[in-house]
C-alpha cells in the first residue's frame, strides 16, 4: 500500500503545469467563463499537439500510454487551473467508445481527428421526457435503404453549437421493451434538418436544445448494431463514471485559503485567524482529501485492469454532493461579501465561490443524478433489492 502518486505522475504534473503556463492564458479561461461555452479550439489543439488528448492511448494511436495515476495528475492540473475541457473530454470519451465498438471505418475517420483536436462530439442522450430514464428516448431513427431518418428532440446537447457530431441515442424499434429498441448514431451537426436553440443556465454555462427534422444519416454512422444502443451507451458510461468533482473543489478551497491569508477581517487580523473561517476550511479540506481518495481508488482499480463500477458511483456521488455543500458553506462564511460576482473588483476570491455555488448544483445532476448513484450503490454494492418503479415499467 502506497499513497504517493509516484514519480512518473509528479513529473507529468510538472510538465502539464508548464504547458498550462504557456497555453492556458487568462483570455482562454475568461472567454469560457463569459460565453458559457466551456471549450476553446486553440487550447484543444494545443492539448492535442502536446499529446495530452492521447495521453492514455496506446502507441499505435500515437498515444503516450500513461497510467491512471498520470491521468489523474493531468486531470488535477486542468481542474486546478480551470481549463475549459468540457468539449474535449466528451469527444475523447466517444473516441474511446468507438475504439471498442466502432467500425474500422469509423475508427479510422473519427478517432484521429478527435485526438488531433480537430473535431468536437457532443452527447445526445437526454430528451424532454427522458433524463434519468434515458432508455425512454423517443427520438426515432427510421431506416430508409442505406440511410436512416432521424426525427425528435434532444435536451442539454451542450456544445452542439460548436460540435461536428452528436453521439445520439435513438429509438429504432417500438415493439420491444424500451431498453431493447435503441440504436446509437454519430450524427453530423451539419446535416440538413438540425436546429440548435441555445439554453442559458444559472451556472452561466450555455447548453442547447437540438431539434431533428428528417435528418438523414448514412448507415455507416451507426455505432453498434441496430437495437443494441443501450449496450453501446453503457460502454460510453464506463468512460464517464467516476467523474470526480473533487478537483474543482480543491481549486476552490485553495482560492479561499489564499483569500483568507491575504485579507484582513474587521479586527485587523487575517481572516485565516478567524475561528469560523478556520473550522470551515479545515472541514472542506478534510472532505476534499476524503473525496480525492475515492477518485484515486478508481484509478487504482483501472491500474490493475479492473473496472470501477460501484466505486465510480461512490466517487461521483460523494464528490458532487460535498462540492455543493462546501460551496454553500463557503458562501455563508463570506457573509454579505459572498453575494459579489466575478467581475466585481472587491469580490473575495474574485467571486469564484459565488460562481462555484451556482455551478456546483448541476454536478449532482449530470452524469447520473445522486439518486441514480445511490440506487446503483444500494443495488450493486450493498446487494439490496431493486426499489425503482422502473421494475414494473421495464417489464411492462
Amino acid at each position: 500500500m502506497d499513497f504517493r502518486m509516484g514519480e512518473k505522475s509528479d513529473e507529468f504534473a510538472k510538465e502539464v503545469a508548464d504547458f498550462l503556463d504557456e497555453h492556458l492564458t487568462e483570455e482562454v479561461v475568461m472567454e469560457a467563463h463569459e460565453t458559457g461555452t466551456v471549450h476553446n479550439w486553440g487550447f484543444y489543439k494545443a492539448m492535442a499537439d502536446a499529446g495530452y488528448t492521447r495521453a492514455a492511448w496506446p502507441k499505435e494511436f500515437g498515444g503516450q500510454e500513461r497510467d491512471p495515476f498520470e491521468m489523474a495528475a493531468l486531470s488535477d492540473q486542468l481542474n486546478l487551473r480551470h481549463a475549459p475541457t468540457d468539449g474535449s473530454s466528451v469527444t475523447l470519451m466517444i473516441c474511446s467508445t468507438l475504439r471498442h465498438v466502432g467500425t474500422p471505418e469509423q475508427q479510422a475517420d473519427i478517432i484521429p481527428r478527435g485526438l488531433n483536436g480537430e473535431i468536437l462530439i457532443c452527447l445526445g442522450y437526454s430528451e424532454p421526457d427522458s433524463g434519468s430514464d434515458a432508455a425512454a428516448a423517443a427520438t426515432r431513427a427510421d431506416r430508409d435503404g442505406d440511410e436512416w431518418v432521424i426525427n425528435g428532440q434532444k435536451m442539454f446537447t451542450t456544445l452542439a453549437h460548436e460540435a461536428d457530431y452528436v453521439f445520439m441515442l435513438t429509438r429504432t424499434n417500438h415493439d420491444v421493451p424500451k431498453h431493447k429498441g435503441l440504436t446509437m448514431f454519430l450524427v453530423p451537426m451539419d446535416a440538413e434538418g438540425i436546429e440548435i436553440q441555445p439554453v442559458h443556465t444559472m451556472g452561466g454555462e450555455r447548453t442547447n436544445i437540438t431539434f431533428y427534422n428528417d435528418v438523414k444519416v448514412p448507415d455507416a454512422l451507426r455505432v453498434g448494431d441496430v437495437d443494441a444502443g443501450w449496450g453501446v451507451m453503457r460502454v460510453a458510461l464506463t468512460f464517464e463514471r467516476g467523474g470526480s468533482m473533487m478537483g474543482q473543489s480543491v481549486r476552490l478551497v485553495r482560492l479561499v485559503e489564499e483569500w483568507a491569508k491575504e485579507n484582513l477581517a474587521p479586527n485587523g487580523r487575517p481572516w485565516i485567524e478567524d475561528p469560523l473561517v478556520r473550522e470551515r476550511l479545515a472541514r472542506a479540506n478534510m472532505l476534499n482529501n476524503a473525496g480525492a481518495l475515492l477518485g484515486l481508488r478508481s484509478a487504482d482499480l483501472f491500474n490493475r485492469g479492473e473496472l470501477p463500477g460501484v466505486e465510480g458511483s461512490m466517487s461521483k456521488l460523494f464528490s458532487s454532493e460535498k462540492f455543493l455543500a462546501i460551496c454553500e458553506d463557503l458562501v455563508d462564511m463570506l457573509g454579505p461579501e459572498g453575494v459579489l460576482q466575478h467581475g466585481e473588483d472587491d469580490a473575495p476570491s474574485a467571486g469564484w465561490v459565488e460562481h462555484a455555488m451556482r455551478h456546483a448544483v448541476v454536478t449532482t445532476i449530470y452524469g447520473g443524478t445522486s439518486e441514480i448513484q445511490r440506487g446503483i450503490i444500494a443495488e450493486h454494492g450493498l446487494g439490496l433489492p431493486r426499489t425503482r418503479k422502473s421494475d414494473r415499467a421495464r417489464n411492462s
Binding site: S126, G203, V362, T369, E371, S390
Partner: protein, 342 residues
C-alpha cells in the same frame, strides 16, 4: 394563544397575494434582472400603501405593527417581486421613529420616495452592500456617532453590484449626496438597532414565503414530471425530503411570526427570537429551494425555469445580512449575555 389571522390580517394579505398573482410571475421577475427592480410595479405598490401602511398613524401612515407587516412579507417573499418592500418599510418606520429630524424625509416617503437602510455601520464614510441602494432616493446609515440620511437623486445613485440574488445592492459613498443627521450618540445606536431588528424580522418572513413557493413549484414539477413510467413525486426519496422541508418551513413560519409579534409586544426575548427566526427561515428556504431545484433535474438550471430565481435569492437574502453562524453567536449574546459581561 391564538394562531389564526385576524380579519384585517386576512384582508391585507389576500390583497397583496392577489395583486402579485396578477402582476408578477416568474417571467416578470426574470425580465427585471439583473437589476432586480421594476419601477412601475413598485409605483403601484406604493400607491396601494405598501410602504405607508407600516408608518405609525400619528405620522400619517397606516399604523400596522411588525406582525402585520411580517404577514405581508410572507406574501411578498412568495412572489419574489422585484421591489424593495422590506428596506423601504423599515426605513420609513425609522424615519418616523426619529421624530422631527426625519419628518421632511418621511413626508417624501409617504409621498412616494423610496428609502433604504445600510445593514452595517459605514466605514470611512462608505456603506457597503446596501440592499436597494441602487434604486433608492434616500439611504439611511449609521456613520460613526451619527444616524444619517443621504438623498440621492436619480443621477447620483450608485450602480448596483453584480450579485447572486440579482438585487439592486450597491455601495454608497455617503459624501456624494446631501447628508442629513437624524440622530446622534446613544439614540442613533438604538434607533439603528431597532431598524435592523425589524429588517431581520421581515426578511425572515419573506424567506418563509420564498421557501413555501419554492416548495409549491417543486411539488408541481414532481407531479408533472414522469420517469420510469411514474411521476417522480412518487419516489420515496423525493417525498421524504419534501416532507422534511415542509415541516421545517411550517416551523420557520411560526417562529418568524412569533418573533415579529414579540417585537410588537416588547417581549424580553424579542432580540433572540428575531435572530432565531431569521436563521431558521434562511435554512428552511435554502434547503427547500435547493431540493426543489435538484428534483427539477437539468431543467432546474435553465434560466427560463423559475426555481433558479428562488434558489439564488434564498441564499442572497440570507447572507446579505451575515454569515448565519455569526448570527448564531448573536443569539447566544442575547440569551446568555455577551462574553465577559458577567
Amino acid at each position: 394563544m391564538d394562531l389564526s389571522l385576524t380579519e384585517d390580517q386576512q384582508t391585507i394579505t389576500e390583497l397583496f397575494a392577489s395583486f402579485f398573482a396578477k402582476e408578477c410571475d416568474g417571467e416578470f421577475v426574470r425580465e427585471a434582472e439583473p437589476l432586480g427592480h421594476h419601477d412601475e410595479l413598485w409605483a403601484k405598490l406604493i400607491e396601494m400603501g405598501m410602504v405607508s401602511m407600516g408608518v405609525p398613524a400619528d405620522a400619517g401612515g397606516g399604523g400596522l405593527g411588525l406582525l402585520d407587516l411580517a404577514l405581508v412579507a410572507e406574501v411578498y417573499g412568495s412572489s419574489i417581486a422585484p421591489v424593495p418592500f422590506v428596506e423601504a418599510v423599515v426605513a420609513a418606520r425609522l424615519l418616523a421613529a426619529v421624530g422631527s429630524s426625519g419628518s421632511e424625509l418621511l413626508a417624501s416617503v409617504v409621498d412616494g420616495s423610496t428609502a433604504t437602510i445600510a445593514l452595517r455601520p459605514a466605514v470611512d464614510r462608505s456603506a457597503r452592500l446596501v440592499p436597494a441602494a441602487a434604486v433608492a432616493d434616500i439611504v439611511i446609515a449609521l456613520d460613526g456617532d451619527e444616524l444619517v440620511a443621504v438623498s440621492q437623486g436619480a443621477s447620483n445613485r450608485p450602480t448596483a453590484v453584480k450579485n447572486l440574488g440579482s438585487g439592486p445592492v450597491a455601495n454608497v459613498d455617503l459624501t456624494l449626496s446631501a447628508r442629513q443627521v437624524l440622530a446622534v450618540g446613544n439614540e442613533a445606536q438604538q434607533l439603528y438597532a431597532t431598524a435592523l431588528l425589524e429588517w431581520k424580522a421581515l426578511t425572515a418572513s419573506a424567506l418563509v414565503g420564498l421557501g413555501r413557493e419554492a416548495l409549491r413549484i417543486g411539488l408541481q414539477y414532481v407531479m408533472e414530471r414522469h420517469q420510469f413510467g411514474v411521476p417522480i413525486g412518487s419516489f420515496q426519496s423525493v417525498q421524504h425530503r419534501f416532507a422534511d422541508d415542509a415541516t421545517a418551513l411550517d416551523a420557520a413560519g411560526l417562529l418568524a411570526r412569533k418573533a415579529a409579534w414579540s417585537v410588537d409586544e416588547g417581549e424580553p426575548d424579542a432580540v433572540a427570537l428575531v435572530s432565531q427566526g431569521f436563521i431558521f427561515a434562511s435554512e428552511g428556504a435554502q434547503r427547500t429551494a435547493g431540493d426543489s431545484l435538484h428534483f427539477h433535474g437539468g431543467y432546474g438550471f435553465m434560466l427560463e425555469y423559475d426555481i433558479q430565481l428562488y434558489y439564488r435569492r434564498a441564499k442572497a437574502w440570507s447572507i446579505i445580512w451575515d454569515d448565519p453562524r455569526r448570527e448564531l453567536a448573536r443569539v447566544a449574546d442575547a440569551l446568555y449575555g455577551p462574553v465577559g459581561a458577567a
